[in-house]
């Protein structure tokens, strides 16, 4: 059984296979961007936040220069400041534009995979226009090879569009949680608008109007817009399907539905109210429902407003202000080095794309899909450090990428965070409970692929219906997932229900 790699959704894949091809296997890429026009793909192919493929290879960073905000969201606590938490709106220290520029230059010199600098908070970047734009202005001069992007709640977006264009920012993310003020009133207690605090439905209506206007103005100017939405069960979950339709019609090219993060200890309204976030299953269901209308993003890690490195990792501690001060950096040499590293990755990706296309063509010629027997889809968890290969030990993984293999191929579903089973040495005392967390987080997965897995976790994983597998170390993720799926098929495991369900029955 040899299957192609699918787009994020069957619908997206079908939409792109216009030119004389009629199956999922035609011209597909492993990216959710496969069916986008060429000029957009060219802009985002090396942006880790916009391209699922790129996020395995390229790095990004955020600088926290924007502490002020002009709205209140019920999932945000403005008093929050913590170095151990990873979620939006949280930072360790706010930087001045000059400090931020210094930090970006240092990180870009030390992490040559870096392609993108974003300003995302911890407040709203456009509520801090001087600080945000001064940072962009200096960086576009000093590091012209770094892409600049900004993330906003949209309230002052229309008045900022002109300035955004000046700084050559071609990616903007707007967080849009609703297009209905009645829904908005349950998410936003107030907005600061025209020198007044406006509460309730009236405030939400202003925010929605500004967001939509800003979205239209940006797309009219050819600036790429991604829309972020926080899925809040019982508040806007069903409504987000409508949001997806509306923002797509207005030209947003990507929709990122993220799960609500709400714990009482965060001190947010939702956290204290006991408002639950969605389960993995609920999130995936909604993402699939939106995918019918829109290009969906599933690899978002909801990172901090001062995150540094590859998505899913944070190397911020290596680049604190005092450490940067002590670094000796040859900036021109660093830029040359970046160009080399980027070109190397591009070559690697090109070869992978060619191989994939060839494989897809072969399957199309053989009519692979039609002749494949009817088998059930299987979720597999993968431990990776990046590079699109299985290269992380089970016990070291702080997160797992989730892939779905089916008779149509393999598609990326999302990621699940956990506590590494064993960081090695003294943290092993907590190993047992960490394993419980991982097993809970991997619910629904039948296989976990990693470069190595120890004897101890093996038994509990198997007992939970999750087969550990270390046989595909250093192999490309999609190839390995398909190979394991084929093995399961050959062993007759794809007709039956998953082991976990059999046990439950």
């Amino acid at each position: 059984m040899d299957l192609p790699v699918l787009n994020a959704s069957p619908a997206a894949s079908a939409a792109q296979s216009g030119g004389g091809c009629d199956s999922h296997s035609c011209g597909s890429s492993d990216d959710q961007l496969g069916h986008l026009p060429e000029h957009i793909r060219a802009k985002v192919h090396n942006h880790p936040c916009y391209s699922e493929q790129a996020h395995h290879y390229f790095a990004r960073m955020h600088v926290a220069v924007a502490p002020a905000c002009n709205i209140q969201c019920h999932y945000c606590n403005r008093k929050y400041d913590c170095s151990n938490e990873s979620r939006p709106g949280v930072v360790s220290e706010v930087l001045t534009p000059a400090q931020a520029v210094k930090k970006v230059m240092a990180v870009a010199a030390n992490i040559p995979q870096m392609t993108v600098l974003g300003i995302a908070g911890p407040g709203d970047p456009l509520a801090n226009p001087e600080r945000t734009f001064e940072t962009f202005r200096e960086l576009s001069e000093k590091a012209p090879d770094i892409k600049l992007c900004v993330s906003t709640n949209g309230l002052t977006l229309p008045e900022s569009v002109e300035e955004l264009c000046k700084h050559n920012i071609d990616h903007v993310t707007i967080t849009i949680n609703c297009v209905d003020p009645d829904v908005g009133a349950k998410i936003y207690p107030w907005v600061f608008w025209k020198n007044k605090r406006v509460t309730g439905r009236e405030g939400a209506a202003i925010l929605i109007e500004q967001q939509q206007k800003g979205l239209e103005m940006l797309t009219a100017r050819g600036i790429l817009v991604k829309v972020n939405s926080v899925m809040i069960p019982g508040i806007n979950d069903e409504h987000l399907v409508e949001v997806s339709k509306v923002v797509k019609a207005k030209g947003a090219f990507l929709h990122n539905v993220m799960p609500l993060i709400a714990e009482p200890e965060h001190g947010t309204f939702y956290g204290l109210m006991g408002q639950p976030g969605p389960t993995h299953e609920e999130l995936q269901k909604l993402q699939d429902a939106c995918a019918g209308d829109m290009n969906m993003m599933r690899h978002c890690r909801q990172c901090r407003a001062d995150a540094v490195g590859m998505l899913g990792e944070d190397r911020g501690q290596e680049f604190t202000l005092d450490k940067i001060e002590a670094m000796e950096i040859d900036y021109p040499a660093a830029m040359v080095k970046r160009a080399e590293v980027h070109a190397q990755i591009e070559r690697e990706l090109e070869i992978k794309d060619l191989a994939r296309a060839a494989k897809a063509e072969l399957v199309a010629i053989q009519g692979g899909k039609q002749s494949a027997p009817k088998t059930r889809p299987v979720l597999m968890a993968v431990a990776t450090k990046g590079g699109g290969v299985i290269n992380e030990h089970f016990g070291h993984a702080g997160e797992f990428l989730i892939y779905e293999a089916s008779e149509f191929g393999v598609r990326f579903i999302g990621h699940r965070k956990t506590i590494p089973y064993c960081e090695g040495g003294d943290t092993c005392g907590d190993g047992e409970s960490a394993l419980d967390v991982t097993i809970r987080e991997l619910a629904g997965c039948e296989v976990v692929l990693c470069s190595k897995v120890g004897y101890e976790p093996w038994g509990p994983l198997e007992a939970a219906g999750i087969q550990p597998n270390g046989e595909h170390a250093m192999e490309a993720i999609e190839d390995a997932v398909l190979a394991v799926y084929a093995e399961m098929g050959a062993a007759g495991k794809l007709d039956a229900r998953p082991v976990a369900q059999q046990k439950a029955a």
């Binding site: 502490p67 403005r78 008093k79 407040g123 001087e130 020198n195 605090r197 009482p264 309204f269």
Partner: protein
Amino acid sequence: MAFEIIETCVNCYACEPLCPNQAIYQASPHFLIDPEKCTECIGDYMDAQCSSICPIEGAILDELGRELNPPGSLTGISPAMLAQYQAAVEATYQAALAAKSP
């Protein structure tokens, strides 16, 4: 006649550019209002600007020391809710302590 910023200020800068009298300035450990310059925005705006954008309940006081944004007014988190949560945290902590002692 002047407002005052107190220690619960989180230094978010939001109020500083809005002041029509440039009465607000960055200081350590938190922003401050120059009482000589503050007019409480009378004559400039219907609502005082600093207290209209401030996200922290209780961080700005009026001339009589009253909170311009009382507890619950901005976040919807009522003092009762907060007290309930704090009691729960305390109970969990005490239970953990008790479990550790022989």
